[in-house]
Point group: D3
Chain length 232, copies 6
């Protein structure tokens, strides 16, 4: 299920910091994927549906270069990715085996994948940067995936950075990392998040003008009224 | 697929220590599930086919007491377990939420489950011990599973204690913890393991008689000949 | 503020497993103190008000044997503990310096302290067991507190095992470890917990009688009715 | 208590590497705060008195957006910070909840706070960089503080990165991270540190000229004499 | 260099808790080996010279069953151990490969080795217990050493549980774990430790009699005088 | 034993990612040193023989500034390093004490050391960068080595980042970190690695041209034939 362009546009203007605050107010405290750092500084925010991949630990009879030709390989998973999706890879936080290198990332880029998000690492970091695919992960490592991981499936529920992600949940990722918006909460969250972002911009302006924090952030009734008036 | 009683009998006489040595000689170094300690000291060795369960991290919209009534709950998984299986639960090593308590373990016992193995913990430790179900895990914690975990499925490939386990792999578990024998290697491994166990018993006797280690363990040709002769 | 004996009696019959479930239903998922294991197996459940102690890391100019004679020492803190309290010691999870040894624990016992709970360790484990003080912690270590910790104060808010504990919160601790009930929630929680415990006992009986889990645990309307009828 | 400008000037010329060596020679081995990395590369060295803040773990009844309006909120703490201080925030090493975002950092900057040092992380990293406040911490995370932390007080003794920091201790922070000079040792340490820095500069010059290390670093009597002569 | 029986007798009456306090007063804060827990509860205190063994991580071309027959194998190291020594094994804290099993421990027992101390684990835990060799370590694991470790040498300086141990240092190990006394400090430490143990016994008696802690522990001048008088 | 310039030239064109794949196919899965990140982004690949250094944990009687003048100091080790070697320092993964600062790195640079690789950290990071010595490690810390480490020897087998390294093994290090090629496998590995690198370049070109992954990476017979033809 692709994502409405209006929602992409709206969320592209909302920071993951704001989104996590809004989700926490709805009772969701665990939506930020630990270890999802931008591979390249200053990558623009990305919004897309989650396409999930799942690894289990390496076992020498399964995690072999030969497995790369199997019908359930990472290669097959990549060929199944729709344009605009955000690939979310559960690598169980493993940091000494790279899930993908330059060739797989180049292919994802070709297929129009919007971003790669993982709690693991990539390999051939320089090559991956060269492909232009936006990547958020824990960093780089030289060894191939099979040195530490066995690929098992795609489009299943996964854990990524300590967060549950289901296929078709919405992922937003920026300088602060990756956040999941559960698919069922999307319509409720978006307008609140957009408004919250606006309010914070006004508060920031007030602080720049020398205002003190108590009563302003969060705003009391008087401050809210001033904000409303300022929209005038 | 149940397990032939002959294989159960054979493997019941082989320690997990010996099994890991035999598997390592076949190139498999990562078959012992970290954190699988016996909840009760001195539990007899258990052998059975793996029946797998899989959790992802808790998300407050999913990991709720209400989820316990869902068709994909741990309750439903337990009702699907065949007698004689070893339940292998991927709890991602989480130690602050108990996967099962006394009620679920009592039901597993009733269904003839041979053992519960997990890289997580159980809750109501005293109650679980009371059910008589043999359990290997990281210990106990009071909170319910939904405090840290979302249950997603059963009979899928899982990671448990850093080891890949597939449904129907064979699990052997004793005082040293749980070991997986890949289903495809079973027939090859069993006779070698039985013989290795016999050889180690003879070596132990030699050491008790005052023999030095070099040349004896591992045995050189002369020692092997003496062992053969001793079989009379 | 001491604790009403009726509440102590009521909570003495409720497991920490049940308490965490009840608190989770009120939105509190983080109330179980990680690492609080009984030093002696089979210690009875303890209920009491929290008396908190706080350490920061060791700095060689502060964490010295001389500091043990200071007015803000652990010795002074112990002399301030009321009978019946549960001492909750924030040791920041440090496991290589023992917060207390046999002498301090003997004195706590003399003063009628109900239990010692910490995310750290004690020292002279054999001596501490000898004092009869019930202790829940991560284990034992030989070195004195000042090898790793600087004591700073008592009766302040602390973190213990990843959980916030405030003076006069209520602590319940059994084989599964220590749980905090926020003081303000006590009256609301106790009756629900007692009822939940009763219900689980009935469910356990049903399982013993061969009932399957779905519909029973958690109970659907029909099961609830049968439970009510059974109270007859 | 503000810091004499002469001391600021002197310490501004001394690296934290040199300071830790000088403090170790006085018996203090644990003065460097782990995890205090510059958020922006190449930030100049900062020297100031410590203004401490303390968090405990999040508990859902306390760690709420509503708590931000409480009299003991981080907002109130910031309004109490004197110009020139270094805010030292004990976040217990938590890296999945940001202690402050752009608004709070902007206000600290307005108040003349010299730097923010924490063993936790900030949120809205891009926004924080935009405020110009010099920050040393473990990095960034999107979630608000209340997702993982409960704020409890300011100007108490704290632990930060495994180091004890008391209000009014002196903090020096540069590319290598943050170091505490206990207030009582300040006068003794400063002249030794300045001289040590001078000596190391001379040794570096000697190495550049091709000198071998033994006898030079640390300098034997002959080398010391040459250094003295070079001051000529 | 064997250890004088008088010193063994003296140290056999001193707890590791007391020893670490005495060593800390001499400036040594890091002498207790983390992770050295007794494999069997209630093992008597052991005192002996350190005989060190060193592992590095496993590399598949080196860490093989064939390596067990090499001249630098653990087998050869065991044959070099003198009676009465304490074997101190640097396993780098690895807990998923057992350094020794029942056969090697049986041989050590035969050679009169006083105890085995390691920051790693043993395998075939039941078998090791059966040999009667006193063992302090992190627990048990099924896999052989070569699954995670490459043996490289004996009688070299090693790290064990985060502590530096040199051949011929003195090791004391009891319920609280293992402590190193640097060989050069032995003569100075022993009499102080014996006296400290005596003083603590007297203090414990005072506490049993109802004395409060301040002024007693540590004793002020008046308490010291009373202790002296009590020696009568 | 220095390294043939032809081998240096060949390996300078092979990424560590490719090398780890080739070594894995030979059964070596554990050859990449965890934590070896480039101190300066974009450092060129370095190839050289390993010159090893070994630390154990700090003990206050040994790890002193005075030890820097000892005959077994890091200073002496540096003076023994041959030009072109890669210094591999086993710091046991310690990240709160810097193994070397600007002066030692400047001297290594003078002696023609090709690179410094460690699983620990350096100190005076700005100064170290100024020396121009290529460094791969976990980052920077202010404290001197003796705050956490005792230097014991050079040119022994060591562990670095969880990998066994022997003197004269070959080290290749680039943006993805450091990889060891066991000395005995060098001749076999080099030509395979060079060819593998060439094949991956061709595959990358195919992907750029829009080819799908299955059958291409790894190449099936048809793809291999096309690659051969392309060499034409």
């Amino acid at each position: 299920m692709t994502l409405d362009q209006k929602i992409i546009d709206a969320l592209s203007g909302v920071s993951t910091a704001t989104l996590t605050t809004v989700l926490l107010k709805k009772g969701l405290r665990n939506v930020w994927m630990r270890g999802t750092r931008p591979l390249r500084a200053g990558q623009p925010r990305v919004v897309g549906r989650a396409f999930t991949l799942r690894f289990v630990p390496a076992r020498e009879d399964l995690a072999t270069p030969a497995s790369w030709s199997s019908p359930t390989s990472t290669r097959a998973a990549i060929e199944a990715m729709p344009a605009g999706c955000v690939a979310v890879v559960d690598a169980m936080g493993v940091t000494d085996a790279g899930i993908f290198g330059d060739i797989l990332c180049a292919r994802m880029r070709k297929r129009g994948v919007a971003a790669l998000v993982s709690d693991g690492v990539v390999r051939d970091g320089a090559g991956v940067l060269g492909t232009g695919l936006p990547v958020w992960c824990q960093g780089v490592a030289a060894p191939p995936s099979v040195a530490g991981l066995t690929f098992v499936n795609w489009q299943e529920p996964v854990g990524c950075g300590g967060v549950a992600v289901f296929p078709d949940d919405v992922i937003v990722v920026d300088d602060d990392g990756a956040v999941v918006i559960p698919a069922a909460l999307l319509d409720e969250i978006v307008p609140i998040a957009v408004e919250q972002e606006r309010q914070e911009a006004w508060i920031m302006q007030e602080v720049d003008n020398g205002a003190a924090l108590p009563g302003l952030y969060p705003p009391n009734e008087e401050a809210k009224a001033r904000h409303e008036a300022s929209k005038g």
